[in-house]
């Protein structure tokens, strides 16, 4: 599996992996990591915010001794800093939730295929129930049930996303369980957990792994949408989505910069993740390569 990925990646020499989207994504990640160092202001620290400078247009000189390059929001927070800090939340939430959802979904899907019978029925019934509703609706119901907060939104996104992995992993694992190495493992009387996690899981993982980047992109958009609706991240720690949302009431009076720039950053982030995800899938999944 590891060799397979390496081989697929090596088909293209390294310089050709440096596409605009990977560079953009790398920049985003670096900016998010460096946010506390490079952001002119800490938007979470009330003492650094000057309320009388609320909704200043881009380019205004601020009392904090720096320029509001992209203006300030309705509470006087510097938009550049809000974007940098918001990126951290968006990335942490989406990567964590996609990774945990993948882990849970893969385990559930592989277990369903291996154990069959009632385990299969129970897990897949739940998966089918969930996949018959759009993800945004599942996430919406989950976050309403769980209440606001960053940990809750991660949980809600995991709930919304695990089923996709489970269905894919089950279909792959079903064909793996019939192969002779599985018979061999069973005949050797290996413990079930060992068969499951050391033999079946690693061999069924590849197609689902290609889903992860795309699902990270979905998670960013979902988190932003939930935060926009006022159901996600609390407003004192704005994510990109809630910063855009905060700007909505000011948009109608012409103070466009509060929503425009954070939204643009969000759009760029999702687009770069989607391009990278598509690229990864095209290289790793032979079925989609032909089309």
């Amino acid at each position: 599996m590891k060799a397979e990925i390496l081989r697929a990646l090596n088909k293209r020499p390294l310089p050709r992996m440096l596409t605009p989207s990977t560079l953009l994504l790398a920049t985003y990640i670096l900016l998010a990591l460096a946010a506390p160092v490079i952001a002119p202001q800490n938007p979470y620290a009330p003492l650094q915010i000057y309320a009388w400078e609320a909704s200043s247009p881009p380019g205004t000189a601020g009392s904090g001794g720096f320029l509001y390059l992209l203006g300030t929001d309705g509470l006087g927070r510097d938009i550049v800093s809000c974007i940098l800090y918001g990126l951290r939340i968006s990335l942490v939430v989406s990567i964590t939730s996609a990774a945990i959802a993948a882990l849970i979904g893969l385990t559930a899907g592989v277990s369903a295929a291996y154990f069959g019978r009632w385990v299969d029925v129970a897990i897949m019934r739940l998966v089918d129930l969930q996949l018959s509703l759009p993800t945004i609706l599942v996430a919406l119901i989950a976050i309403v049930t769980l209440g606001p907060g960053i940990d809750r939104i991660i949980l809600a996104l995991i709930i919304a996303q695990w089923a996709t992995y489970a269905r894919l992993a089950r279909s792959v694992a079903l064909s793996e369980t019939r192969k002779s190495y599985m018979d061999a493992a069973r005949l050797m009387r290996l413990p079930t957990s060992r068969i499951l996690f050391r033999h079946l899981l690693p061999n069924s993982i590849a197609p689902a792994v290609t889903l992860i980047p795309i699902e990270v992109g979905h998670a960013v958009a979902l988190e932003a949408t939930l935060s926009f609706l006022g159901l996600g991240v609390p407003s004192d720690k704005p994510s990109l989505g809630s910063t855009v949302a905060n700007g909505f009431q000011y948009l109608l009076t012409g103070q466009y910069w509060i929503s425009l720039f954070p939204g643009l950053a969000l759009f760029g982030l999702i687009a770069s993740i989607n391009f990278v995800g598509e690229d990864v899938r095209r290289r790793l999944d032979p079925r989609s390569r032909s089309v």
């Binding site: 019934r125 089918d128 129930l129 018959s132 509703l133 759009p134 945004i136 609706l137 919406l140 119901i141 309403v144 049930t145 769980l146 209440g147 992109g217 958009a221 932003a224 949408t225 926009f228 609706l229 006022g230 159901l231 989505g241 855009v244 949302a245 700007g247 909505f248 948009l251 109608l252 012409g254 466009y256 929503s259 425009l260 939204g263 969000l266 759009f267 999702i270 687009a271 989607n274 391009f275 598509e278 089309v291």
Partner: protein, 325 residues
């Protein structure tokens, strides 16, 4: 026989889904706060008033009993009365439904032909300039968060240029006892921006599907035969390729339509379009439990019906599916 057992399985699964949704929704709406404080006047109410309101709404009962009562009422077709609007909850949802359906239908009427057309043209010359542009634009279109797209449409189309109104439904005309915006010029004018906001991502996903379908079909033997017969490329594309890719396209249109109803939550709240989605968000924020429950149940029923319809349609259009079952 096989068809009946499939249908029965479907039905039992649907009932299960409805039951699960109602239970989760009920517990969820129960856990986010006490609606009493949104109903009594918080400044003048005495603890006595609050106590009386709590008992009047049945909120003093334990959760399981409230849920049992809710189920009992629902079986009798009663979703309770809205705490805020003092109207029957289901009737309230139904009164908002035409606005949502209208928006979703018009958006789909725009998205389906546009997406299919772009996909056909892109797939016909795989790797050409148009194909590459379309493919790249589709990723961008699918990456735009719909709330931001809506806000930018308002900024460009309403605030900076003043061409379109920034929200609301505009004038409506009565038809079959319901109010429709499509029938008046002002109403249509109000629909343009929200329709665009809903249609753009759908154009992209339909275009991607129809592109890959076109590439697949155009490489089959019968297309080569058509070409050998000397049919014009246009005739092959529209008379032979299009019917062959129509089944998956119809399927995705059905599924996307469901997704549109869900995304209407976002688009409707931004354009203050008085539909079901806006009602749901407003009710969640006001803790108007009967309306939230009625809306969630209604949306679930709509989805189940839509999924069943798509499957049925699939079976009717594609003989292979019929034979397989």
């Amino acid at each position: 026989m096989a068809l009946i057992s499939v249908a029965l399985g479907r039905l039992s699964q649907s009932v299960l889904l409805l039951f699960a949704m109602s239970l989760i929704g009920f517990i969820g709406i129960h856990s986010i706060g006490n609606p009493v404080f949104n109903i009594v006047n918080i400044e003048t109410a005495t603890p006595d008033d609050i106590q009386r309101a709590t008992i009047a709404l049945g909120l003093d009962q334990p959760v399981w009993r409230q849920y049992a009562l809710f189920l009992d009422n629902v079986v009798h077709g009663n979703f309770g009365t809205s705490y805020i609007y003092h109207q029957p909850a289901l009737a309230l949802v139904m009164s908002k439904l035409p606005a949502t359906l209208e928006l979703a239908c018009v958006a789909m009427l725009v998205a389906a032909p546009a997406g299919t057309g772009v996909g056909l043209l892109a797939g016909r010359r795989k790797g050409g300039l148009f194909d590459r542009t379309a493919l790249r634009s589709s990723v961008f279109a699918l990456s735009i968060p719909s709330f931001w797209l809506s806000m930018m449409l308002i900024l460009l189309g309403a605030i900076l240029t003043g061409w379109f109104p920034s929200g609301g439904r505009g004038a409506t005309a009565s038809f079959m006892g319901l109010e429709w915006s499509v029938l008046t010029k002002d109403g249509l004018w109000h629909m343009i921006l929200p329709t665009l906001a809903l249609a753009v991502p759908n154009i992209a996903s339909i275009a991607r599907l129809s592109r890959s379908g076109t590439i697949e079909v155009e490489s089959l033997d019968f297309t080569r035969f058509c070409r050998a017969k000397g049919l014009s490329p246009r005739r092959i594309l529209f008379r032979h390729t299009l019917p062959n890719i129509s089944v998956p396209i119809m399927t995705i249109i059905g599924l996307q339509f469901g997704g549109m109803l869900a995304f209407a939550v976002v688009v409707e709240s931004i354009f203050s379009w008085p539909g079901v989605g806006k009602l749901l968000i407003d009710s969640i924020q006001l803790l108007d439990r009967p309306v939230v429950m009625a809306t969630l149940t209604f949306i679930s029923v709509a989805f189940i019906a839509l999924n069943a319809f798509v499957d049925l349609f699939h079976a009717v259009l594609d003989p292979r599916v019929r034979l397989a079952s």
